[in-house]
C-alpha cells in the first residue's frame, strides 16, 4: 500500500546545523496489520512517519501511496490525502485546550463541510465506543492522560481513515493504561485499520498484535522485520 524508495530527508539544508534525518530508506508497508518502528530518539522514526503520513515531503526519493507518487504533491493535495487516509495520535495528544472533548474530536472534519448533526452523531458514537461518552462535554484540560489519549484516538478516527499513525503512544502512560491502549489498537486492527506505531517501549514492540517491527538507526533501516 505504501512504498518508499531511497527516501531522504534533510533539515536546515545548506546551513551549519544541517541534519540528514533520513538517509536512503527503502520500505514497503502492506495494507492491514500493525507495524512498529523502533529505535533510539533521533533515529528518524518520527520523521519517517511524517513522510508516510503526508505531513511532509521528502527531500529526495519517492513515496508511493496505492501506486500514486505523492512525493512531489503540493501541500494542498497532501492535506486532502492526509485527511482522508491517515489518522494521527500524537505523543502528547495535542488536544486543543479550551474546547470540549467532542469539539476536539470533530475538528478534523470541519473543512469537509459535513452536516453538523451527522458529524456530531459520528463523534458521539466514536466516544461511546471508547467509553468516553460521558466525558463528551468535558473540557480537555481536566482530562487524565488515558482519557486524553482516547479523545485523541477518537479524533484520529473521525474521518474514517485507513491508516492510524501513533507516535510513542505509551510514553506518557502507566502500564495499566498502556494495556488499555493495546486493547483499543487490537480492536482497530480487527476493524481492518492499518496501524503504524513508533515506540521504544518493549511492552508495545513485543505485544501479540504487532505483526512487524522495523528498527531504525541514524536515519537508516537496520532491521526490516
Amino acid at each position: 500500500m505504501i512504498h518508499l524508495s531511497d527516501v531522504r530527508k534533510v533539515f536546515n539544508q545548506g546551513r551549519p546545523n544541517e541534519v540528514w534525518a533520513l538517509n536512503g530508506i527503502n520500505l514497503t508497508l502492506r495494507q492491514g496489520g500493525a507495524t512498529v518502528f523502533r529505535g533510539p530518539s533521533g533515529s528518524g522514526k518520527t520523521t519517517l512517519l511524517t513522510l508516510v503520513g503526508c505531513l511532509a515531503r521528502p527531500s529526495s526519493g519517492r513515496v508511493r501511496l496505492k501506486d500514486r507518487d505523492i512525493s512531489g504533491l503540493p501541500e494542498r493535495f497532501l492535506t486532502e490525502i492526509r485527511r482522508s487516509t491517515f489518522g494521527f495520535v500524537f505523543q502528547n495528544f495535542n488536544l486543543l485546550s479550551g474546547l470540549s472533548a467532542i469539539q476536539n474530536v470533530m475538528i478534523p472534519a470541519y473543512p469537509r463541510g459535513l452536516p453538523h448533526k451527522a458529524l456530531r452523531r459520528r463523534a458521539m458514537a466514536l466516544l461511546d465506543m471508547l467509553d468516553m461518552g460521558d466525558k463528551a462535554e468535558a473540557e480537555t484540560r481536566w482530562l487524565s492522560g488515558g482519557e486524553a489519549q482516547r479523545i485523541a484516538i477518537a479524533r484520529a478516527l473521525i474521518n474514517d481513515p485507513e491508516v492510524v499513525i501513533a507516535d510513542e503512544p505509551t510514553a506518557n502512560l502507566d502500564s495499566g493504561l498502556s494495556a488499555q491502549f493495546l486493547a483499543i489498537a487490537g480492536r482497530l486492527k480487527r476493524d481492518g485499520k492499518t496501524l503504524l506505531v513508533t515506540s521504544h517501549d518493549p511492552f508495545v514492540c513485543e505485544a501479540a498484535l504487532v505483526d512487524r517491527v522495523v528498527t531504525l538507526h541514524d536515519g537508516r533501516i537496520v532491521e526490516a522485520g
Partner: protein, 376 residues
C-alpha cells in the same frame, strides 16, 4: 451545500477561538472600536451639519441683491426694487430687513429679522428657542435693548419658535418693521438687501447677469453658489480632520499588525495541530479571516453606534469646536439624526480595509507553519 456548511463550521470554530482568548481580543476590539468611534463621530457630525446647512439654504431665496459701497455691504435704496422688477424673467422682488444685535447681558449675537410672510404687532417679538433659553424668558416677558440713539426699545415676547431646525431658528428674533427701523436707525427708503424670485429656475444665471448690468453697484448672491461653497467648506473641514486622523488609522493598522503577528506559542501550536489533523493552509487563513471579520463587524457596529449616541444625544462634545462653531448659541443644539450610506461605505474603507490589510500577512505567516511541527 457542503460549501455553506463548511463555512458555518469554520465560523463556529472562529467564534470559539475568539472566545478562548478573551483578554487579547478584547484589547484589540477596544482599540478598533475607539478608532471607528472617532472617525464616525467626525463623519456623522459633519454630515448632520451639512444637512442643517442645506435645510437652511433650501428656504433661502434663489437670488439676493446687495449694495456695495467701497467694497462693503451697505443698505440698498428702495428705488432699486423697481429696476429689478423691470428685468425680464424676474417674478417678484422684495426688500428684506435683518441684522445682528449683540446682547452684552449674555455675550451672544441675535439675528433680528422682519419676517416677510407674517406681520408682527409693534412692540412684540417672536424669539428663537435658544434666545429664550439663554435669557430665561418666555411668552409674556419683556426684553429691552438699547437703540442706535441710546434710547431703549422694549419688546414683549409673544411666542418662541420650536427648535425643529436648530441652526436656522436658534438665535432668531422676529420683530415688526417699525421696531426694526427704530432700533437700528434705518431710514424708511432703505432695506438691508433685496430678494428676487425667478420665473424659470434654469434662467437664474441669465437673470443675475441682467441685474448686474442694470445695477453696477450691486453684489448678487446665488443660492446655488452658496450651497456649493458651504458644501466644499464642510467637505474640506471634514477631510482635514480625517487627514489628521490618518495618523490614528496608521497607528491602528500597526497595532493590528503587531497583535496579529504576536502569536503566542500556544496559538502557533494550535495552528500546527489543525494542519496536522487535516486542515489546509487555506482553511486556516479562512478561519483567521473570519475571526477578523467578526472583530471588524463588532467594532464597526459598536463604534458607529457609540458615535451616533455621541453626536446626536450628547451633542458631539469632543469635536464641536473644530467642525461647528461660529456663534456661542449653537452648541446647545442636538443635531437631527441622519445616516448616510456613502458615509458608512467610506467609513468602512477607513477602518475595516486597513485592518484587514494589516492582518493579512501575519495571518498568512501563521498559517503556513509546517504541519509536521507537532511531531518534532
Amino acid at each position: 451545500m457542503a460549501g455553506l456548511e463548511r463555512q458555518r463550521q469554520l465560523l463556529d470554530f472562529a467564534l470559539s477561538s475568539l472566545a478562548r482568548r478573551p483578554m487579547k481580543n478584547l484589547a484589540s476590539l477596544t482599540v478598533y472600536t475607539a478608532v471607528v468611534f472617532l472617525l464616525s463621530s467626525v463623519m456623522l457630525m459633519s454630515h448632520a451639519i451639512r444637512r442643517e446647512a442645506a435645510a437652511l439654504l433650501a428656504g433661502a431665496p434663489e437670488l439676493v441683491v446687495q449694495r456695495l459701497v467701497a467694497g462693503r455691504h451697505d443698505l440698498i435704496p428702495t428705488d432699486r426694487l423697481a429696476t429689478i422688477r423691470a428685468v425680464r424673467g424676474v417674478a417678484a422682488a422684495g426688500g428684506r430687513l435683518w441684522g445682528y444685535l449683540f446682547d452684552p447681558a449674555v455675550a451672544a449675537n441675535y439675528t433680528f429679522l422682519v419676517p416677510p410672510d407674517r406681520s408682527i404687532a409693534a412692540g412684540t417679538a417672536i424669539i428663537g428657542s435658544s434666545v429664550a433659553a439663554v435669557r430665561g424668558v418666555g411668552p409674556g416677558d419683556v426684553m429691552s435693548f438699547r437703540g442706535y440713539d441710546g434710547r431703549p426699545v422694549a419688546f414683549t415676547v409673544t411666542s418662541t419658535i420650536a427648535a425643529e431646525s436648530a441652526l436656522v431658528a436658534a438665535d432668531l428674533f422676529l420683530v415688526s418693521e417699525g421696531d426694526f427701523r427704530r432700533l437700528f436707525g434705518i431710514p424708511a427708503d432703505r432695506f438691508t438687501d433685496i430678494v428676487v424670485t425667478i420665473r424659470n429656475p434654469r434662467e437664474v444665471r441669465t437673470v443675475a447677469e441682467k441685474i448686474d448690468a442694470a445695477l453696477p453697484d450691486a453684489r448678487i448672491i446665488l443660492r446655488d453658489e452658496m450651497r456649493r461653497t458651504y458644501e466644499s467648506v464642510f467637505d474640506w473641514r471634514e477631510g482635514m480632520v480625517l487627514v489628521l486622523l490618518v495618523g490614528a488609522i496608521l497607528a491602528f493598522a500597526i497595532f493590528s499588525w503587531e497583535k496579529a503577528s504576536g502569536l503566542s506559542a500556544d496559538e502557533r501550536r494550535e495552528i500546527g495541530i489543525l494542519k496536522a489533523v487535516g486542515w489546509e493552509t487555506a482553511d486556516v487563513i479562512g478561519v483567521k479571516m473570519l475571526e477578523g471579520l467578526v472583530m471588524s463587524l463588532t467594532a464597526f457596529l459598536a463604534g458607529y453606534g457609540l458615535a451616533f449616541l455621541h453626536v446626536f444625544h450628547f451633542g458631539a462634545r469632543l469635536f464641536e469646536p473644530v467642525l461647528k462653531g461660529w456663534s456661542v448659541l449653537y452648541p446647545e443644539f442636538p443635531l437631527a439624526p441622519s445616516v448616510d450610506e456613502i458615509q458608512m461605505a467610506s467609513l468602512f474603507f477607513f477602518t475595516v480595509f486597513p485592518y484587514t490589510l494589516a492582518t493579512i500577512v501575519p495571518i498568512w505567516r501563521a498559517a503556513v507553519v509546517d504541519p509536521d511541527m507537532v511531531m518534532r
